[in-house]
């Protein structure tokens, strides 16, 4: 089973087409292994990006250096998945 310990999901808001193009280019950088949950559409609309823990620093540095605003939507993805699993197990027991 693949775990997602330390992975974060960032909610990113690009303010212009140039920043959107930059976000789209992130998808092509296979070494980062990022995963768009919500793809970048138009300026002002949020995009959600799951970033594996090893790529976090690189992605955040890139966003900050380009002045692209973001917030952390999910702090630690695995914690959320563990809670989900626990809830399922509880329901099954019931």
């Amino acid at each position: 089973e693949q775990l997602f310990v330390g992975d974060q999901v960032l909610r990113i808001t690009a303010s212009n087409e140039e920043q959107i193009a930059l976000l789209r280019a992130l998808d092509e950088q296979t070494e980062l292994q990022v995963d768009f949950w919500r793809h970048p559409g138009s300026p002002g609309h949020p995009a959600d990006l799951r970033v594996p823990f090893p790529s976090l620093q690189a992605v955040k540095t890139l966003l900050e250096s380009k002045g692209i605003s973001y917030s952390i939507m999910i702090e630690d993805l695995q914690k959320l998945l563990d809670e989900e699993k626990k809830a399922m197990a509880k329901s099954r027991r019931t």
Binding site: E1, Q2, F4, V9, R11, D27, E28, T30, D35, F36, W37, R38, H39, P40, G41, S42, D48, R50, M73, I74, L77, L80, L81, E83, E84, A87, M88, S91, R92, T94
Partner: protein, 309 residues
């Protein structure tokens, strides 16, 4: 003894649990609900569709599917709740009764069973099918880029490692081909509603081109009313519009194909987004999400019933 009343709709379930519950639903409503197998997945899982019908032969029909992107669990859960709701409300709710007295409803709750099973066993983040791609170590095709509607354009990826990989050719995925064959074979499907999550949108064609659909105005009106009635339940705000105007250019999507093949009332939902969880929506959100979605679904289905073509 099992019955539909012991199934916990407020919890997420595995494919085996959902398939087993489908049999129970059929057993509880034998005169209304039946289960059809429309094909098999890449890994040979059955592709099941629930048919809600009060009789007649080859009546006009509404198609609903949930969970074509396997990781969006809120959609499969909403599908199960919706199936139960349709069965329970027939004979009780005048709208549901009128719809089913005139039309059939088909509902595919797990449109991507291999992916769904994989999200439970190995990778909760899995979105695509599980077909092997020749010459690549990456597995799976995005089944919502695999339809023969603008297939291969820039609104999808040719890279098998991408989450929006379109596949080697249109309808290469068994899960997609099964629906294509079913809808074409049926010949009387008047509406297709494909349900995804998340981002709170109700969308209509086109996604693969910027030109408005010939029925743009009517579809827009239907969507406007549906999202308004949805919002009236819990205040959840949806945006609506064509895929290309509302999100981005997307080639090979389900509803573009259905629309291009004569299904006028083609819509796709993106369900609830709390802003905190993405598609990992806690199970406490299932019933509220399904309940508000029901209001919109009912609007669309009633419109389809009242506007035969």
């Amino acid at each position: 003894e099992r019955s539909t009343s012991t199934f916990d709709f407020a919890s997420y379930h595995t494919i085996d649990e959902i398939y087993s519950w489908m049999d129970t639903l059929v057993a509880d409503h034998p005169d209304l609900v039946s289960k059809l197998q429309i094909g098999q997945s890449y890994e040979n899982r059955s592709l099941y569709v629930l048919k809600f019908s009060t009789g007649g032969s080859n009546r006009s029909a509404i198609w609903l599917d949930t969970g074509i992107h396997s990781r969006e669990w809120i959609t499969q859960a909403t599908g199960a709740w919706t199936a139960n709701k349709i069965a329970e409300e027939y004979g009780q709710d005048p709208s549901v009764t009128a719809i089913l007295d005139g039309m059939d409803i088909f509902l595919e709750i797990i449109a991507n069973p291999d992916g769904f099973a994989y999200t439970h066993s190995s990778n909760r983040m899995w979105r695509k099918t599980r077909s092997i791609n020749a010459g690549s170590h990456c597995v799976g095709v995005d089944p919502n880029r695999n339809w023969d509607a603008g297939f291969g354009g820039s609104g999808s990826s040719s890279n098998p490692c991408s989450e929006t990989y379109r596949g080697p050719y249109a309808h290469s995925e068994r899960e997609v081909k099964a629906i294509v064959d079913f809808i074409l074979g049926h010949g009387n499907v008047k509406s297709v509603i494909s349900i995804h999550s998340y981002s709170q949108m109700l969308l209509y064609p086109y996604g693969y081109k910027t030109a408005p659909a010939p029925d743009h105005q009517e579809l827009n009106e239907v969507a406007k009313k549906a999202v308004s009635d949805l919002a009236a339940v819990y205040g959840t705000k949806y945006t609506y519009g064509s895929i290309v105007d509302t999100i981005y250019l997307a080639d090979g999507t389900t509803i573009d194909w259905t629309y291009d093949n004569g299904v006028k009332y083609s819509f796709t939902f993106e369900l609830r987004d709390t802003g905190c969880y993405g598609f990992i929506l806690p199970s406490t959100q299932i019933i509220p999400t399904a309940t508000e979605t029901w209001a919109a679904l009912l609007d669309i289905m009633v419109h389809v019933l009242e506007h035969p073509y």
